[in-house]
């Protein structure tokens, strides 16, 4: 496949075009504060998307990640508040990752253990996780976060002041997105486990025949995605400075999937890149944030994202089919 017909190139082109239009409409659009806003908005979405990418590569799909993230963030906040309110943020993050991994293991047991389809299981747990939280754990908003999380939300990587006197900043949380990308890259491309994830996505039957422990790998994939979900959840709570069991993050599930699919990951499994996924996240964030800045009505967001998905995934598929037909 030539680089021209790759999703990455297409998405990068759309991002560039978007920036040009943005700059033409609003002279302040191409500025450091805009960039910082976008990076900040991409942290949680990015971490969740990287997790979903791994599931897609393994040949499955996960629609439960935002629900899992909300449960992890709320349970973690309650635990820290109740047991060790003075706990530092690193310990709190570990708790969130552990809660996320445990919930991911629930998905894993149904999918790898019982051999159920990933869409059905995660559709079930999407509702189950959150319902369980609201029914048995609590539905009160906690706006007074433990100290560790408050400290974390104030730690800035970059801080500056504009000519007009307004401030901009990028929280340290961004480093977590960078770390997650680096770790996932190493796992996928430098370990045999990662190669096995690709192999299973390519052909599960072939993987079985060659002796890959398919169920074990699938289970680990969902535990990993759960851990990333827990991390994304606690970062989301810290940055929003509130632990809300009814958090609107839940509505972001489709955006997460859209970003991964826009980035070129195939739903049939076996293919997908981190670069593509990050570009997909960038585009989604750009569309949802900038349209507001540029004064374009909110409802246009849905139209824009919908069109992007149809064009972004339809065009390469159509091109691939054309070249295939020419070869036949």
């Amino acid at each position: 496949m030539s680089w021209l017909s790759r999703n990455e190139t297409l998405v990068a082109g759309v991002i560039l075009a978007f920036c040009v239009v943005g700059a033409a409409l609003d002279p302040n659009f191409l500025s450091i504060p805009t960039l910082m806003d976008l990076l900040r908005a991409g942290i949680v979405l990015g971490i969740l998307a990287v997790g979903v990418l791994v599931v897609l590569i393994s040949g499955g799909i996960d629609v439960s990640t935002t629900s899992l993230a909300i449960v992890a963030l709320y349970v973690t906040t309650l635990l820290v508040q109740g047991l060790a309110p003075e706990m530092g943020w690193p310990a709190a993050f570990l708790v969130a990752v552990a809660v996320g991994a445990a919930l991911g293991a629930v998905n894993g047991v149904f999918i790898a253990g019982l051999g159920l389809p990933t869409l059905i299981v995660t559709l079930g747990t999407l509702s189950l996780f959150r319902g369980f939280l609201l029914t048995f754990v609590g539905d009160d908003l906690i706006s007074n976060l433990p100290r560790g999380l408050r400290d974390f939300s104030r730690a800035m990587m970059i801080r500056g002041e504009n000519a007009d006197g307004s401030f901009y900043s990028l929280p340290w949380a961004f480093a977590f997105l960078v770390g997650v990308v680096a770790l996932t890259w190493a796992l996928l491309y430098r370990t045999m486990l990662g190669r096995q994830v690709f192999a299973i996505g390519g052909s599960m039957e072939s993987a079985r025949r060659i002796g890959i422990p398919v169920r074990r790998v699938q289970f680990l994939v969902f535990v990993y995605v759960g851990a990333l979900g827990g991390l994304a959840g606690i970062i989301h709570a810290a940055l929003a400075r509130v632990a809300n069991p009814q958090d609107l993050l839940l509505n972001q599930q489709l955006s997460v999937l859209a970003a991964v699919v826009l980035g070129g990951a195939r739903l049939e499994g076996g293919t997908g890149t981190l670069t593509g996924t990050l570009l997909g996240v960038a585009l989604i964030v750009l569309v949802s944030n900038s349209l507001i800045v540029l004064g374009i009505p909110n409802t246009f967001q849905s139209i824009a994202i919908g069109l992007l998905i149809l064009l972004g995934t339809g065009l390469p598929a159509w091109q691939a089919r054309r070249t295939q037909r020419r070869a036949a």
């Binding site: 370990t191 045999m192 192999a199 996505g201 390519g202 052909s203 060659i210």
Partner: protein, 496 residues
């Protein structure tokens, strides 16, 4: 004489499944560097024997010895460790991964590597392909390769895992004549290297020349065994089916048979050019050519699946609309596709529905459908074509290859076509069913139908066709009377 010690020796092996004896007291032996043909029809026990070799199943009685040591039990892992590799018909590759990674995956897995070592993987792949004697782009994704190269990658993968015995299931079905030649060269190389090979196939004539021995299974028993030089296509068929299925060529064409179909100047850029031919009622016309010669595109063009840029197709003096399958069917042309599994059948639907689907419009009673009449007609055709099915309501998937082909034929015949185009009518069916399909073709022609058989299976063309057209690079270069054609002559012209 260490070299002559058997690699695998099975003695008195018996295996039953739910009361059905799949293998009955079978002895089987193979030595290093030896190639053995394992022949047999579907249900003869071939697959069971492979499963025992691969460690997937364990016999009820009998002894399996590897390198002279009787085994207490075998699992896929111990079989692989002993150097036994099975290459299934679908090759079991990873389409999304590179050639190099596909070749080295099993070896790296067996070593228990935790980290992916790209350089080492390429090194293994390069060395293995050198051993096979082929050059290939190591970083190309396997899904972009032609079938013949995928097979080489599968062979490479077996070798990279130190295979000493490679079992190949139907290795030649998807290959053209030229690719089969190339494969045989590679097999000779491997044998010289001490690798043993078992061919499991319906189409054995092609691999006889590189094999030392032939073992024929029928109903779970070894019915014939001996040096390959003692077998030919005909004796193999006789042993496999237990009857003599000598194919004598078609019955002579009636002298005054009228011209039924006339094709004039049919052209499509990049596929075929200026194709002219006629087909008479009751005639069986063969069209042969290598893959890429345009034979499939031409077949599809007759039925409107490919739109030609110039030329006409005339049936009974009336122009057949081009590029429209529905109207081609109405005009009286029927087409049975090459890949009956993916192109022609609704695999999960019932046999009856698969036959009846083409006749729905003819059984309409106003806005309603005469289901009874539809089913009765379908059942009649199933009976006339002798489809062996326990239940017409069973899904088509449950039938054997030959019977699936009959279901497709039944569907077309139910529409009463004048001309029937059969693309690769017996690809992937066993010898017995093949002979029966040839008999059906002869029957159809005797009823006055014009039949076009598209195939690169030369014996099949010789057995069924009155005339054979040879296509090279999109043009018809030869028009031979079936009675005058020989296999060698045809093969030479095809490759010209």
């Amino acid at each position: 004489m260490a070299d002559d010690a058997p690699l695998v020796e099975m003695t008195g092996v018996t295996k039953t499944y739910a009361g059905i004896t799949a293998l009955d007291d079978v002895d089987f032996l193979i030595r290093p560097g030896e190639a053995v043909c394992l022949a047999g029809e579907n249900g003869s026990g071939k697959s069971t024997l492979i499963k025992l070799l691969a460690g997937v199943e364990w016999p009820d009685r009998g002894v399996i010895a590897l390198d002279g040591l009787a085994q207490a039990a075998m699992t896929p892992t111990t079989a692989a460790a002993a150097g036994i590799a099975v290459i299934f018909q679908d090759f079991s590759l990873f389409p999304n991964l590179s050639v190099a990674e596909n070749i080295a995956f099993g070896a790296e897995l067996a070593e228990g590597a935790r980290f992916y070592r790209g350089r080492r993987v390429r090194e293994i792949a390069k060395r293995t392909l050198e051993r096979v004697g082929v050059l290939m782009d190591l970083s190309a994704p396997v899904e972009t390769l032609p079938v013949a190269h995928k097979q080489l990658v599968a062979i490479g993968r077996a070798l990279a895992s130190n295979a000493r015995l490679i079992v190949m299931d139907e290795p030649t079905t998807a290959l053209t004549e030229r690719e089969v030649r190339a494969l045989l060269g590679i097999i000779r190389r491997l044998k010289a290297d001490g690798v043993a090979v078992i061919f499991v196939s319906h189409k054995l004539a092609e691999v006889l020349e590189v094999s030392e021995r032939v073992v024929v299974l029928r109903n779970g028993r070894v019915v014939a065994e001996g040096p390959a030089s003692g077998f030919d296509a005909r004796s193999l068929t006789r042993h496999m089916t237990g009857r003599d299925l000598a194919e004598t060529g078609p019955a002579p064409l009636l002298a005054g048979a009228p011209v039924l179909l006339k094709v004039e100047g049919l052209s499509k850029a990049g596929a075929f050019h200026g194709v002219d031919f006629t087909l008479r009622g009751g005639e069986v016309l063969g069209i042969s050519g290598l893959l890429g010669s345009g034979r499939t595109a031409l077949a599809k063009a007759l039925f409107g699946l490919v739109t030609p840029e110039a030329g006409r197709v005339v049936l009974d003096g009336r122009d057949v609309p081009l590029g429209d399958p529905l109207r081609a069917a109405e005009a009286g042309i029927g087409y049975v596709p090459e890949d009956r599994l993916t192109e022609g059948l609704f695999l999960t639907q019932s046999i009856l529905r698969n036959v009846a689907v083409g006749r729905v419009a003819s059984h309409a009673r106003g806005p309603f459908l005469d289901l009874g009449g539809l089913a009765a007609e379908a059942r009649d055709w199933l009976a006339r074509l002798r489809v062996k099915a326990p239940d017409a309501e069973a899904p088509v998937r449950s039938l054997s290859g030959g019977n699936q082909q009959r279901v497709v034929l039944a569907r077309w015949l139910a529409r009463a076509p004048r001309v029937l185009v059969l693309n690769g009518p017996s690809v992937g069916v066993d010898v017995g069913s093949k002979a029966e399909i040839h008999a059906i073709i002869a029957d159809l022609a005797a009823q006055g139908l014009g039949v076009i058989v598209i195939s690169d299976d030369l014996p099949e063309l010789l057995a069924t066709c009155h005339r054979i057209l040879v296509m090279v690079e999109g043009r018809i270069v030869e028009d031979i009377a079936g009675a005058e054609a020989t296999e060698e002559g045809l093969a030479r012209r095809l490759a010209s």
